[in-house]
Each structure stands twice: as structure tokens, then as C-alpha cells.
């Protein structure tokens, strides 16, 4: 039996016009359903019923009639957007040194953005002492002048500079890593789809597991924290989720966490998605519990309170000497209380960044066993500085499942032509 659970707005996947949509439940499974007057009916699964959707979402209001009427056509942020900028993404090139089956940016060939243009963008986008900028692409490390761009971001006043990368050059060129660290790079988000080369051959076209390990090692040498970013694709690596978490924990404190991204269909993707090719947020939660339950307890993962709860989750931990995870936040989390983008930015940056040399000195004590004690206030704070670890997820939206109630709460924005555009609006791709 079909039950209408919620009313919202989406876009037609063919013409991208804004149209009404509903959440329709068939038993426990929930679909986003919509009809374009010109192109017909569309549906995409959004929740498999493995957790209670209402509880997870909390009591957020629906989009009322007359609200967000220009969304997403007129994105840049408008006065009706409900969240500030937590992280701002700046593309520095269209070029890439891989040719992946999936790529949100559709990168590969094209031009680098001239350095002078980037420097101007950085000055325009930075709020001195506050901004977290993600240098992205394409693959940013194809640029020899990336350290100079990092330095320009710091000079513009960005508090944190994050590099989004496939890690290939970081593995091959240690001097380049050193230069990035010296220029002021804060941390690295590295594409990391699994712990076997079969996965990399399928998704990235070549064997990369050894490359990823070398990149982590090189970043470790220069105290650059690495967060692993797997794209989760049904039939490819959904059975490796526990393996990825175990690998990450084992490589703490160089690895700061795992940021899962269930596949979404924008940019470049190999086929139009059927429901079996989608991996919903609750499927990811269940897979973590099934495959890494010995490390991650169910009640330690909480819905996003900065972005919309259906866009992501987070869990915060300490890595103990025996490679277990000690959860910092357990139990019911209130998802009706929104967290500001500023709070969120400071929180995640503290976790993803490795402590500076003077703070890291306590890490040496850890090796002798002195710092595994988290029962004293001093010991706990030392451990949290050196060995914090996050499990986070971001479920990007595509033209099939775009929900404007979610989009209006987005805090990850792409800087383009002087505007801050919510990520999923920027990369929205027609599915003809």
C-alpha cells in the first residue's frame, strides 16, 4: 500500500525544472516520486527502512508553498537558504591524471584556472580567520603550482585549506607533499574506495591500493592528516565498508577518519541508475553496523545537524592503542537542534587536522604506552588531540533524487563567478 509521508519539491531529471514531489512509502521503503508535465513520472528510492526515517529526520519543517520558489534555478545563496557556508569548494583545474567511471566533476581534460584568477577568487571568498576552502578539480595535484595556491589561500586569510585528491601524486612525489605542508595545507581528503585492487580497477581503471598506502605514508611524514573518502557503489565495494574502517583505524593517527559518499549520478557516470544501483544512507548505516559492529556501535552515529539529516551523519571517536574505537558521543542525538556552519566547521577541522609539532610531542609518549590512559582529564585531552577519529557520510543528490528541502540546508558550497552555490545544485546533471 502506498502512503504519502511528506511533500517537497524536486526537479525533472530531463529538463531540470522545479516540480512538486512526495515521499511515498511502500511498506518500509520510501521513494521520492514526481511528475513533470512534459517528461512524465519519475521515482527514486531514498530510504530502505533499515532505520526509522521519521526519528532520523526529527521534526524539521516541510517546504511551505511559496518558499524557496527559485530553488535550485537561481542558486547562489538566496535569503531563503537555511544554512551558512561551512566549507567552500574551489576548482583549480579541469585536468585529471585518472579516468574514473564515476566523477562528480566530469573531470579529465581541459584547462587550469590561471593562478592570478584563483588568487582573486581566494581573496573574494575568504572571510579572514574563518574560511575552510577545499581545493578541488579535476585533480588539483596535476598542477605544479598547487603549493603556491595553498599559500595564496592562507595569505587571503583562509583558516583551513583542504586538498581533495586521488592521492596519486602524493604517493609519487614526496617533495611535493613537503611543499604543500610547508605552504600551509591543513589536511587531505583522499579518494579511497577500498582495500583491494579489484575495486580500483572497476572504479578508477587501474590498481591503486599500494598508491593509496604510499600517499598516506608520505602525508604522515609531514604531519598532514588524511581522511579517506570512499565512493560506495552497489556491487563494487559495499561489502568492503568494514574493511575500509578497519584499515583507517589501523593507520591512525595519520588517517583521521573515513568520509563515505554513496554514489550519486552527476558529472560522469556510466549508466542511468535503477533503484538497485542506489545505496541509501540507512543502507550505509546498516552496513557499518553489520561489517564493523565490533568497532562502531549503532548509537554512536548521529544524523547531520548542520546539513539536512538525510544528507549525512557523523560519529566521533578516539582510537585506542589496541585499535578499538572509543565513542565520544553516544545515545540519542537531538536532530531538531540545528548546528551553525561555523560550529560545524570548527568541529570537523579540529578532527581532520593533525596537531602541530609541539602538541604532537604527546604522541611520542603514546608509543611508550603512557598515553592510552583516558581516565584522567589530562590523558583524555592529550588523546583527543592526537588520536581523534571520525566516521562521516555525505549523500550527494542527483537529478533523480534531489529534494529541495535538503538542498536549502546545504552548507557545502562551490565558489563560482562570485557566488556560493550548494554543491548538489552546482553539479546537477540532466539525465536525458
Amino acid at each position: 500500500m502506498r502512503e504519502i509521508k511528506r511533500r517537497t519539491y524536486s526537479v525533472c531529471p530531463v529538463c531540470l525544472k522545479r516540480i512538486p514531489a512526495i515521499h511515498a512509502a511502500y511498506g518500509k521503503t520510501v521513494y521520492l516520486e514526481k511528475t513533470c508535465p512534459q517528461h512524465g513520472d519519475f521515482a527514486a528510492v531514498i530510504w530502505r527502512g533499515l532505520r526509522d526515517l521519521e526519528t532520523w529526520r526529527g521534526n524539521l519543517p516541510e517546504i511551505e508553498e511559496g518558499e524557496n520558489e527559485n530553488c535550485p534555478r537561481a542558486c547562489g545563496l538566496c535569503p531563503e537558504h537555511r544554512q551558512g557556508t561551512c566549507c567552500v569548494l574551489l576548482e583549480v583545474t579541469k585536468r585529471c591524471n585518472l579516468n574514473c567511471a564515476f566523477c562528480f566533476a566530469g573531470g579529465g581534460s581541459g584547462e587550469d584556472i590561471p593562478f592570478a584568477t584563483l588568487r582573486k577568487h581566494l581573496h573574494d571568498l575568504a572571510e579572514p580567520g574563518k574560511t575552510l576552502v577545499q581545493l578541488s578539480g579535476g585533480e588539483p595535484t596535476v598542477r605544479d603550482d598547487l603549493p603556491r595556491i595553498v599559500a595564496a589561500a592562507k595569505e587571503a586569510g583562509c583558516q583551513y585549506v583542504q586538498l581533495n585528491t586521488n592521492g596519486v601524486r602524493l604517493a609519487e612525489d614526496r617533495e611535493y607533499v613537503r611543499n604543500l605542508a610547508t605552504a600551509g595545507l591543513s589536511f587531505v581528503f583522499m579518494q579511497f574506495d577500498g582495500t583491494s585492487d579489484r575495486i580500483y580497477r572497476t572504479l578508477r581503471g587501474r590498481e591503486l591500493f599500494a598508491v593509496k598506502k604510499r600517499a598516506i605514508e608520505n602525508c604522515g611524514l609531514y604531519n598532514l592528516g588524511v581522511t579517506l573518502v570512499p565512493t560506495i557503489v552497489p556491487g563494487v565495494n559495499t561489502d568492503n565498508i568494514g574493511g575500509i574502517i578497519r584499515f583507517a583505524v589501523k593507520h591512525s593517527p595519520a588517517v583521521r577518519g573515513v568520509h563515505f559518499q554513496p554514489v550519486s549520478y552527476f558529472g560522469r557516470f556510466p549508466f542511468l541508475p535503477s533503484d538497485s544501483r542506489r545505496f541509501t544512507l540507512d543502507e550505509l548505516l546498516a552496513a557499518i553496523e553489520d561489517q564493523a559492529g565490533e568497532l562502531v556501535s549503532r548509537d554512536s552515529l548521529h544524523p547531520s545537524r548542520c546539513d539536512h539529516p538525510l544528507c549525512g551523519f557523523h560519529g566521533d571517536y578516539l582510537v585506542m592503542q589496541d585499535h578499538t574505537l572509543y565513542p565520544l558521543h553516544k545515545g540519542e542525538s537531538s536532530c531538531c537542534q540545528t548546528v551553525t556552519a561555523v560550529q560545524n566547521r570548527n568541529f570537523v577541522a579540529r578532527r581532520w587536522r593533525r596537531p602541530k609539532a609541539e602538541e604532537a610531542a604527546s604522541g611520542k609518549q603514546e608509543e611508550s604506552g603512557a598515553d592510552n590512559d583516558i581516565e584522567t582529564l589530562e590523558g583524555f585531552l592529550r588523546r583527543i588531540r592526537s588520536h581523534s577519529f571520525t566516521i562521516t557520510a555525505m549523500a550527494f543528490q542527483d537529478a533523480g533524487n534531489l529534494d529541495l528541502e535538503r538542498l536549502r540546508s546545504c552548507s557545502l558550497h562551490v565558489y563560482s563567478d562570485g557566488r556560493f552555490v550548494p554543491f548538489c545544485a552546482y553539479y546537477l546533471t540532466k539525465q536525458a
Binding site: 548521529h302 545537524r305 548542520c306 557523523h314 566521533d316 565520544l328 558521543h329 553516544k330 545515545g331 542525538s333 548546528v339 560550529q343 560545524n344 568541529f347 570537523v348 579540529r350 581516565e375 584522567t376 582529564l377 589530562e378 583524555f380 585531552l381 583527543i384
Partner: protein, 65 residues
Amino acid sequence: MSDKERRWKCGKCSQELVQQKVVFNYLGHTFSHDLPACPDCGQVFISKELAEGRIAELEEELEDK
């Protein structure tokens, strides 16, 4: 004179506070810390320095984002 060097007395018992290992609970976590405490009633003194330093840091880390 810092809070550490000062000699404090308990407001209730007039006993001079002595340094003790104190166990406390915060947001579901239990910690111990050496603090001046009354040997009679157990009341503890948390200095401004501690409150604005370590405890503020703890609060920042443990408040859920």
C-alpha cells in the same frame, strides 16, 4: 599569586583544602583530576584557570556538533 599557590579554606567547614584525586562525570564520560578538596565534606575548588582552560577544552570536544 596563582590559584595553585593560594591556600583555600572550605566555606562550610573552615578546613584548609588539600590536593586530592577527584572523580567527576561530564556528558557521560568519567575523569579524574587532582583538585583542592575539603578533607571533611569533600567540596572541591575549581579554579578560574582550570575552568577556562582544560574544562573549557573538554566541553568543546565533548559537546556534540
